[in-house]
């Protein structure tokens, strides 16, 4: 019964989306306030309908209603409650429902909080959102109905994929979707602006908070996913340049570029058509990512069961959305006049360089991800290749170097016309820190990869440069502490947010360098009681015990770790066997300090009689790896801090009352404007 309600409201949501896609757009074209206002109500109603549908599906999972096909396929009565709930989005149908729900919630947020938006812009934004929503709700209803029934109802389900039964992965998809789908806001604002034929500073100010929110969520989502891969897959790695990972990383790269270029639109009324294009591209990458993950056209290390027929539907949505948006852009963009002039050496110039490098990086990732598809299509299915990490390391890495070098410099530049000499003087501490880091790293690990000290230098450059810029803003050490403290409290939160986010990246570079340059690995077979030495440690398999969890049985290995004869820790690693899915998963034993992770897993028990009491043991020392997620956390915190800035409140900024064209408007900030 409840599932039927879900089915019904899902169809209602489709109808509401159709109305919302047409009526406000028409109203905006004719200037009729009544028609435009329809969008607000349908947006809220659509979000409510989808919430009810989602709740109905959740009810099915929580009560283990196996007459629902996807509950039967993805749940089991013995599963812990957390995974019954996360099972809702741990499958194709449910995760698409979550996708449209997030989209509808964003639309409803515009309807509720966007009171200060000009009515025509708001109506058009809501229309575009509804068009996307309509396409994906139709996709759900026609190809992936979550409410399909089974008759007769089976007695029990087949269980959720055990790898997904993990707290980290339970929250990874919702966060990721809030980011992915959140970029639809920037897209809808861009299309609405193209229809209106008007982009100004106020527009930039409206787009920024949405982009920032989506970016923050996406950063958190990607970090959570890579953390999960690290401790759950048991390979000790955290990023594999896998198509599914790239699918979330490409929107992040474009989104980061968009975040920066929208600042230029807001502050300087320049780079307008470029920002519009970026907004279109960012969301296009979100759509492309959805397509890659959901269609299974690419063989991925992380591939889930997928269905090519569904891919065709998403491909059609993709073609219409991207094709339509780019056509509209081609028609309208030439009419947009660029605003504020700036010298190449200026804050704007630095942000343009940031955009070029980020776009280029995203393009190489896109190329590497799609290359196997292109080659297979060109060769008629004869040549099948995959593009592995070496490609991405050789292309993406070098592009990041100038980007990070510039990141320390950019915030020191003044708007409009910067002074390279003054800026470089402020970077002297950063240069010293970088040289120190290179030297110390080289002395500490002389036999590591030759590039590693330079990567550490890069991180120190960015970290010290960011702190120096921040210190300069609050006059740290150049003025009395009371003055500094007063200036600190007077700092706009968005400026502090930027400093934190940049600092987060510096921290992350340290982690990436450490874990990829100096990782050591030990693989061997041990019987309980045996010890092996390697990687600077003595590893003893103390015991292997058997036991039962809620829906699995396990073998738990106790690994005793000693360093130079001194006891370090005993870590526990499990191999869990889930009988319902007939599948085994690994829980790594990890001992983390700020400087490194000790990481141990046990593998299979030997198959022959002689080896029946021996287990494969894999032990890693991953130096500095916690810094990766620490950095991500700092970046997310920076995003949140910036988002809490009063000036970013949605709807707070007003367009100039009489709305004269605002080209060449002087910047709203005094010249050495606080960095954002």
């Amino acid at each position: 019964m409840i599932a039927e309600i879900g089915q019904y409201v899902l169809i209602a949501a489709l109808v509401l989306a159709a109305i919302q896609a047409v009526v406000p757009l028409w109203g905006a074209a004719r200037g009729e306030a009544g028609l435009m206002a329809v969008g607000d109500r349908t947006a809220i109603a659509q979000a409510a309908a989808l919430l009810i549908a989602f709740a109905a599906l959740t009810h099915g999972f929580v009560t283990s209603d196996f007459s629902l096909q996807i509950v039967f396929q993805n749940s089991h009565s013995l599963k812990p409650m957390l995974y019954k709930v996360s099972g809702v989005w741990g499958n194709h149908e449910g995760s698409m429902l979550l996708w449209v729900l997030v989209l509808a919630l964003f639309s409803a947020a515009v309807a509720v909080f966007g009171r200060n938006l000009p009515p025509t812009l708001k109506a058009r934004v809501l229309s575009i959102q509804a068009m996307i929503g309509f396409a994906f709700i139709a996709f759900i209803i026609f190809t992936s109905n979550p409410f399909a029934r089974l008759s007769p109802a089976p007695l029990d389900g087949t269980g959720l994929n055990p790898l997904l039964q993990d707290p980290g992965l339970a929250f990874h998809p919702p966060l990721l979707y809030l980011g992915y789908v959140g970029f639809s806001m920037a897209f809808s604002f861009a299309i609405a602006a193209l229809i209106e034929g008007r982009v100004d500073a106020a527009w930039g100010r409206w787009v920024r908070p949405w982009t920032l929110a989506a970016w923050t969520f996406l950063t958190g989502g990607i970090a959570l996913g890579s953390w999960w891969a690290y401790y759950e897959l048991g390979w000790g790695g955290w990023w594999f340049w896998d198509p599914v990972e790239n699918a979330s990383f490409m929107p992040w790269l474009f989104g980061t570029a968009l975040l920066h270029s929208s600042i230029v639109v807001e502050k300087r009324d320049a780079l307008k058509s470029w920002t519009i294009l970026l907004a279109i591209l960012t969301f296009s990458m979100s759509l492309l990512g959805t397509f890659l993950v959901r269609s299974g056209v690419l063989t991925s290390v992380h591939a889930f069961a997928t269905d090519p027929e569904r891919g065709v539907f998403i491909l059609a949505i993709l073609a219409i959305a991207i094709g339509g948006a780019l056509t509209l852009f081609a028609v309208r963009a030439p009419g947009m006049k660029g605003g504020g002039l700036f010298a190449p050496v200026s804050r704007e110039g630095a942000l343009v360089a940031n955009n070029m490098l980020l776009t280029l990086a995203a393009a190489t990732v896109l190329l590497g991800t799609l290359y196997p598809l292109i080659l297979e299509a060109l060769s008629g299915g004869e040549s099948r290749v995959s593009v592995g990490p070496p490609f991405f390391n050789a292309t993406f890495g070098p592009i990041m170097v100038p980007l990070v070098l510039l990141m320390a410099l950019g915030p020191l530049m003044a708007w409009k016309r910067g002074n390279l000499r003054t800026a470089s003087r402020k970077l002297v501490p950063a240069a010293i820190a970088a040289l120190l880091a290179i030297g110390v790293t080289f002395l500490a690990v002389p036999d590591g990869p030759g590039l590693a000290p330079f990567a550490m230098g890069l991180a120190a450059w960015l970290g010290a440069g960011t702190i120096a810029e921040w210190g300069g803003r609050i006059k740290l050490f150049t003025s009395s502490p009371t003055v500094s403290l007063r200036r600190l409290s007077g700092q706009p939160r968005s400026a502090s947010g930027m400093s934190l986010a940049h600092l987060g990246l510096a921290i992350m570079i340290v982690g990436i360098t450490g874990s990829s340059a100096w990782r050591t690995e030990l693989v061997t077979t041990l019987s309980p009681g045996q010890t092996v030495e390697g990687a600077g440690y003595a590893v003893t398999l103390e015991s292997v015990t058997e036991g039962r969890g809620p829906n699995y049985s396990f073998e738990r290995g106790a690994l005793r770790i000693e360093e130079n004869g001194e006891f370090v820790t005993t870590m526990f690693t499990e191999r869990r066997f889930f009988p319902v899915a007939n599948q085994t998963t690994t829980e790594a034993g990890i001992r983390t300090t700020l400087l490194s992770d000790l990481y141990g897993v046990i593998g299979e028990r030997g198959r022959t009689p002689e080896t029946a009491n021996a287990w494969t043991v894999r032990f890693f020392v991953n130096p500095l790896v916690p810094w990766i997620w620490l950095g991500a956390l700092v970046m997310v915190f920076g995003g949140l801090l910036s988002l809490s800035d009063r000036r970013h409140r949605v709807g707070a900024p007003r367009r100039a009352a009489n709305a004269v064209p605002t080209t060449n408007k002087p910047p709203t900030q005094p010249m050495p404007a606080p960095a954002e």
């Binding site: 280029l360 393009a363 190489t364 190329l367 290359y371 099948r384 070496p390 061997t524 897993v601 494969t616």
Partner: protein
């Protein structure tokens, strides 16, 4: 600097960046393309020794044995077979009778040494290449482990 000059500068810098990126990509593509072979493909056009490639097929029933931390197994597309070995902890989804994709090199003795065995999230999943390979060798039964 006039607007025209500035635009020229932007165009020049972008072209320069694009050019260097293209050079990076071309340089990297050569070394890092990993081709996919089935056991039958290898019989028709052998892969050069020491070249990294991906081998896909099914793990033959009853073929898995271990020596220390090294696992030996036979990869089959039900027409031809290749003996493969892997040292280390196999992914949890590695099992006899199931699809497998392994990345590694082939020795002069025709043995495949895997550097990495790709894990899949789902036991019902069949790598697309493996499904295609089985179709090609005429051993694919539609409706069986299709997802």
């Amino acid at each position: 600097m006039k607007r025209k000059h500035r635009r020229l500068l932007v165009v020049a810098v972008s072209l320069g960046l694009l050019g260097s990126a293209a050079a990076l990509v071309l340089n990297a593509v050569e070394d890092s393309l990993v081709f996919f072979y089935t056991p039958s493909d290898l019989a028709e056009r052998p892969a050069p020794p020491a070249d990294l490639f991906r081998l896909g097929g099914l793990v033959e029933e009853g073929s898995v044995r271990t020596e220390g931390a090294t696992t030996f197994f036979v990869v089959t597309d039900l027409n031809r077979t290749i003996l493969a070995s892997y040292t280390g902890v196999l992914p949890d989804l590695f099992r006899e009778g199931q699809g497998v994709v392994a990345e590694g090199t082939i020795g002069a003795d025709g043995r495949f040494t895997a550097r990495e065995v790709l894990a899949k999230h789902d036991e019902t999943y069949m790598p697309k290449e493996v499904a295609d390979a089985l179709r090609k060798s005429g051993q694919w039964r539609e409706g069986e482990a299709t997802q």
